[in-house]
């Protein structure tokens, strides 16, 4: 008899505990905010957690939570997205074989195209990081002797940058103000790093 009562009590406790757990899970599920609620600017779940963590350990996340509701794609400015599209479509230049113009011009190497891609991407990102701006995509054109030309024409200015086929040669450029002609034109080489080239894009957008 005593054994029976003990078993009954044990069973009842087990059931209570199970129900309690179920209720707890149910309420936790109820409390768990929906995905959209997390990203709500007014009342963010992560903001709440951030504040709690801040109180507890005395540190704060440097990134405001409200920013996370935008996807990475939204954060890429449209000019950079356009640039990526232009770079991708310029791959067609690699299809040009030797003597593609019936005048003996050589084809274009993947190495030269990669150099173009890196030059444009690095500079676009650098400009975005430092100035929150981006240049318009250039026309990516076949250049002489396996080199690739990047050509910009804005209402005010025109710029031509040549990416040579040889890795030992530096990029060269020429740009001028359409109204001024060759007066105050910019010309030269050494644009190979974003630090070297930043000024030329600021000039172009001016």
């Amino acid at each position: 008899m005593i054994e029976f009562v003990a078993n009954e009590i044990a069973e009842s406790k087990k059931a209570q505990s199970f129900r309690g757990r179920q209720t707890h899970i149910a309420s936790w599920r109820k409390e768990l905010p929906s995905r959209w609620l997390w990203y709500d600017k007014e009342r963010s779940y992560y903001d709440h957690l951030r504040t709690k963590a801040h109180r507890r350990v005395g540190c704060a996340s440097p990134v405001p939570v409200s920013r996370h509701r935008f996807s990475a794609h939204t954060y890429i400015p449209s000019a950079i997205r356009n640039l990526r599209e232009v770079i991708e479509s310029s791959r067609t230049i690699l299809k040009l074989q030797n003597d593609w113009d019936e005048q003996g011009s050589p084809g274009y190497s993947g190495f030269t195209w990669k150099r173009v891609e890196k030059f444009l991407t690095d500079n676009a990102l650098q400009l975005w990081r430092r100035h929150k701006t981006c240049f318009e995509p250039p026309r990516v054109l076949p250049g002489p002797d396996g080199s690739i030309d990047l050509h910009w024409r804005t209402p005010k200015r025109e710029l031509l940058i040549n990416v040579p086929a040889s890795s030992t040669e530096q990029l060269s450029y020429y740009g001028d103000d359409i109204a001024e002609g060759t007066e105050n034109a910019i010309r030269g080489k050494k644009l190979d790093t974003p630090a070297d080239a930043e000024w030329i894009f600021l000039w172009l957008m001016n």
Partner: protein, 135 residues
């Protein structure tokens, strides 16, 4: 003397000075043309090597059609024109009459000088289309 008779007699063609007001014809393959029909700056280059010149024909001895017909596939080539004086104003460029007996082209004229980005961009601004390619 008629030019064709002179050709048969093997008369040498002397270099002549080209006045600034004269025109030069230049053939451009369709692959160097954009969708808008404009010539890419890359089309302006020295051939066959950098030390040579950019080939054109002097208006005095050739017509635009003759210039086009010297191409491997004439129908794939457009013809543009330059005013000689304007070409001479482009950085580092000189215009020299270089008649070519081997190809029987008395009009042949070279535009010498490095075709750097500045020269190519300026040349792309001063030409006028004469014969376009059919789409």
């Amino acid at each position: 003397m008629d030019f064709s008779v002179a050709d048969e007699l093997g008369v040498t063609w002397e270099r002549q000075d080209i006045p600034d007001i004269d025109l030069l014809w230049m053939r451009v393959h369709r692959m160097w043309l954009g969708a808008d029909g404009k010539v890419f700056p890359g089309a302006f280059k020295n051939r066959p090597s950098d030390k040579d010149g950019m080939s054109t024909d002097w208006q005095k001895y050739a017509t635009p059609e003759q210039t086009r017909n010297r191409a491997k596939t004439p129908k794939d080539n457009a013809v543009i024109q330059f005013v000689v004086g304007a070409v001479r104003k482009v950085a580092d460029q000189t215009v020299v009459h270089t008649p070519d007996r081997a190809t029987n082209n008395r009009a042949h004229t070279d535009v010498y000088g490095e075709k750097h980005t500045e020269a190519r961009l300026q040349l792309s601004r001063i030409y006028t289309p004469v014969i376009s390619v059919e789409p």
